[in-house]
Symmetry: D2
């Protein structure tokens, strides 16, 4: 693991998620940009002294030289460093799981995609919400045709945690709305892309073009705190996506509705163990996580019996579980279990970055429709 030092929120989440099934062991790290702090914290967490490195370059060198080098490198450093580090490790032959956003530009994203392909390395990106069992079941239902052709998807990620104007000077909030630190987008780049990725994941389609209405409800912000995005997908599906950080009363607000010719689905991250499903001309019914005979994708992503709540850390762990299967399959030169082949990839990271740029561009142009695909996929 690179980054995720003392006091970080994402570091423990990755260690929890990766270790939860006992499929990965935390064996090496460069946890802090301050070499001594990183080395000492790593050892405190149980790393061997010679594998608790001072920085990511030292670790790259050290691990490259070992026979028992790590199987997977998690990159959880500040956003602007993701590209450089991910690139270096991929080129050195490591598999990488990179925190989102994978890069700061579309061009960098394309580079990562090419490097991963050329080196035949896994480059995963952490859209952890697609790890939920019932999100995977939605994808399986769509894929096997339960909904028929998908007409429309409506995704949402609306919270109210940045609604207090008095927080304008709070550094934990402010940087997100500062183009110098956050890039071309705030709320869409932070939350919206989770919803957009989920729309793609569930429908099995990619976004082609979009039109965005972005606003800064708190006037001092340069970047948007609320965005409405209409989009189209390559399978003909129409998309709607609302994201907000000023929606007081909403805690997390990631949800998705999928409407096809033959039925509709509704799911919300805050109650992730129930999925609402209405087959055309029938009644609304509640699918429970852990039901028997759902789908191989759902079954594989479930750990406890029906009726017992499962939450985000287990969804997150499913990304690692997929990666363990992919790495093992590679080692055993066998195909990956298709029900496990669901982790988000570099191409997803790239497409998200292209969507972020498109949203900023369309928003600035009064909602003009713009191509949302990265150049390499046009």
């Amino acid at each position: 693991m690179i980054g995720g030092g003392e006091g970080s929120q994402i570091g423990p989440a990755h260690r929890l998620g990766s270790g939860l099934d006992g499929l990965f062991e935390f064996t090496a790290g460069a946890l802090d940009h301050r070499p001594e702090a990183g080395r000492s914290y790593g050892q405190q967490l149980g790393l061997a002294a010679d594998r608790s490195y001072g920085d990511w370059r030292e670790m790259l060198e050290g691990e490259s030289a070992r026979e028992d080098r790590v199987d997977l490198v998690t990159v959880a450093t500040p956003n602007s460093t993701h590209f450089e580090i991910t690139k270096a490790y991929l080129e050195a032959g490591f598999h990488v799981l990179c925190e989102k956003p994978m890069t700061m530009t579309v061009d960098e994203g394309e580079q990562i995609v090419r490097i991963a392909q050329e080196n035949k390395r896994i480059c995963a990106v952490n859209y952890g919400y697609t790890g939920y069992s019932l999100v995977r079941h939605m994808r399986a239902m769509v894929a096997r045709g339960d909904l028929g052709k998908i007409r429309l998807v409506n995704a949402e990620f609306a919270h109210g945690h940045h609604a207090d104007a008095a927080d304008a000077d709070n550094p934990r909030v402010r940087w997100r709305y500062d183009p110098a630190q956050a890039g071309v987008s705030a709320q869409f780049a932070d939350c919206g892309i989770h919803a957009l990725h989920m729309a793609s994941f569930v429908t099995g389609q990619e976004v082609t073009k979009l039109s965005a209405d972005i606003v800064s409800c708190i006037a001092s912000r340069e970047l948007e705190d609320d965005a409405m995005v209409n989009f189209r997908m390559d399978g003909g599906t129409v998309g709607r996506l609302w994201t907000s950080s000023i929606a007081i009363g909403r805690q997390h607000g990631l949800s998705i509705q999928v409407f096809g010719e033959k039925g509709g689905l509704r799911w919300s991250q805050e109650q992730p163990n129930q999925l609402y499903w209405m087959p055309l001309n029938q009644r609304l019914q509640i699918i429970e996580r852990g039901e028997t005979n759902l789908s191989p994708e759902a079954d594989r992503a479930t750990r406890v019996t029906i009726g017992h709540a499962e939450g985000m850390p287990l969804a997150f762990a499913n990304i690692y579980k997929d990666l363990a299967e992919a790495i093992r399959a590679e080692k055993e030169t066998r195909p990956t279990d298709p029900a496990a082949d669901l982790y988000p990839r570099a191409t997803d990271g790239l497409r998200s970055m292209a969507a972020v740029v498109a949203v900023a561009k369309s928003g600035a142009a009064g909602g003009e429709w713009v191509d949302a695909r990265p150049p390499m996929f046009r």
Copy 2:
């Protein structure tokens, strides 16, 4: 009452709503476009033979000649006839409650507004959902400043009752998507304007401009069955509105979220007796219809004690209750109780029609922002 003959759905609803509090008595009608059928059905419903008319012109003549002429005429005929009938009765000095849409064009709408003003007659339009006690309480909370400046309103009216492609030939569904019968818009004109009117009602602001993305998910339809509308209001509020008739799994789907500087509100027509309210930096709390000390507007619109469900017919009746107060106040030459002065007016009907036209225009122009105000209010 004009229209609402045998087998109509809206006729009984009006008779229920108007009679519920005993404030209006059903005393005259021209209920059917077939004179004999109308006369006979009216008598069957208890009208005197001489006040069960064969058509609206006969009734206009008959009632105009009476000293005990009706206080209020409800127009519940097919949409294309609303303008002509409403105009005629207003000019003859009757108060009118017209079903929505009030007219088929903006120009007709402006005529009605002017005629009503010149004749000092009430012309109400039936946006019945604003009659709910807690909708009125939202308006009161906004007006008294509980939420501070309103940043954003997100309204929705999404159902799935027109999602079956096999219904393409069902005459009860088909006409809505046929421009010859429905005008320039289907789903937005049918449902969307309820949500838009509610956004205006609750915020106390009017829509100035909008941008729409409209689609026909069922290909054979000429008019839209799904629309996403972004809008701006004259008090600086940003608006989002989604309406759909192909959202399988949603029954009614009229809901509204209002986000201000100091708090957020959420309400849904399907569970109308609870209002979710989060003051900034506090917890989400549930306001119950019938609580003591809500607001004069909410109290006046409540009939049963807290915890007992109230539904749509009582909301509808509140429109009639407001009208009764307005008519009585006029007779008694005293001001109307402000807590009752909440019925939707001709200006609301006009603004809705302007919004319908704007949505169709923006939708056809790829989401271009267009002025949503009627010319007379620009």
Copy 3:
């Protein structure tokens, strides 16, 4: 109407419920125990001067002498007077709808049942919650065997409106816990019997015996503010019933769960338009009020289309609608529509009274099982 004078809560509810469908007209009344106040209030409400009576005896005499005597007398006076008035009107040949409790003793209840039978008059008792469309649908589902044999019913009526110990001296609360005014039971007699009646109504079975645990959570109360009742029914069903007035956080809390061999149902008065139904080994599904093809009982008790909330006043009106049908059928000497033959009867009022006495007796005897049937049905 007897009782329901100025300021009463139940008076307007009855006038609303009876008038809502236009099936009854409010034509005579003795609304107050103070003759002048009653006469004047009645006329204010639109009664003719000669039918706005000073007391119930005067009205009995006056109406008995008329050819156009009222079809139905609603008794909404203080509880202790129900027996005397109901008895007098039944004996004089009037149909009666009596507020609950029908009587203060089991013996009085048996007298009323006999008198109604002998005089072939309708004596209805106002358990209004069984008027809800979906409650009637539950009954229909059970009757037609959808659930198979009913194993268990769990009913609840828990609110928190008497939880404030500081209310001990509040006269509107205090009287309920005073045996001199309320009889042998407080919370069970006030609320519990609604839940118990609903259990009987839905299952089509009668309570045979019961065991009660009653407590006064507020020490100064002589009668119970919380009771748990286990019971058995004559079709073999086991029952559980909890009622409380100190359950802070609960507003109304009338709900019922029915479990059979082939499925389970769940319904709650606060969200009355949805019914949760799980057929054995299938998924939970949501039945909506207003669905097509539910049952004749449900259809008849519905007024607005699916997705539009209906509430308590319409449920209440269904009791009156049933009575109108029963009275009309009698006049037309034809059988009553079975889908309308669902109003609660004197036998229900009697059984409730027997249950109240049994709860008090069992509670006092440490939960001993006691016969809950009135002597005439043993």
Copy 4:
């Protein structure tokens, strides 16, 4: 770990829960009653060959002889063996976490309590649901007086997974209702005691006496599949508890309501991240897991930020987290963090067993009130 061999459900749950925070490492085990199967499965799970034992006696001997003996032994064997194994390990100086039920008799339970005390060893029992952050917050709220004196607690654990009469011969279901295998109680012993323990945990009070109504809704069962238990607690609180395995439509159904003089709480295991709280005479409000400034007990039991669902595995892990703190505190001869001192103990296991016996006894005696305390606490 003893038990939890291949195919077991509880084994993986314990390994997941204990390893989740990296506080325990799985280093020794006797996983199967078939020695070879156990040894091989243990090694497959990563145990060293010399610590993957053939049976619990071999492991006891082996671990006792080591200097790096295990810190904690988890007993997850069939119920009837819990006593013998737990006893042996406690006497040998190990800390033990025993699956529920801790013993099959009250007398055995008292022995375990005494042995643990005499040997100053931890004997924990796995009532994992009390590990939820918001359950611990309820306890903290009660303890610090937010609710005032607790008047009533209403707990429930009702599911429908044993409702199919056709399952009578299904061995996975049948044994629970067979006294030879399950002891004196089925559903209460399996599920009811979780709810009862939670009532004690939250209120900080112990059950003194109880009255039970138990039934076998499926006639072929000798033991109960539904029970209603009324009880009293040593702090004066009245209790109600319903448990069922035939409640079709309910998935898990563990929930609790707590009513005090100054407020009421409601929580449900299926939506564990929200807690409903109504302070007296105020509005119902929703407490979210992960809110700032809840209580030290809640904060310590939370891992991810507000709005992200947490589920049962994390609750379970909190029991292990508490044990890690207790073991560490003992090693460091310092007091245990009070916010962590919440794991269920041998005394809880004993009291539950006494309650099981009391329920069976009261149920057989028609609901007679019986002492529910173990003899040593009378």
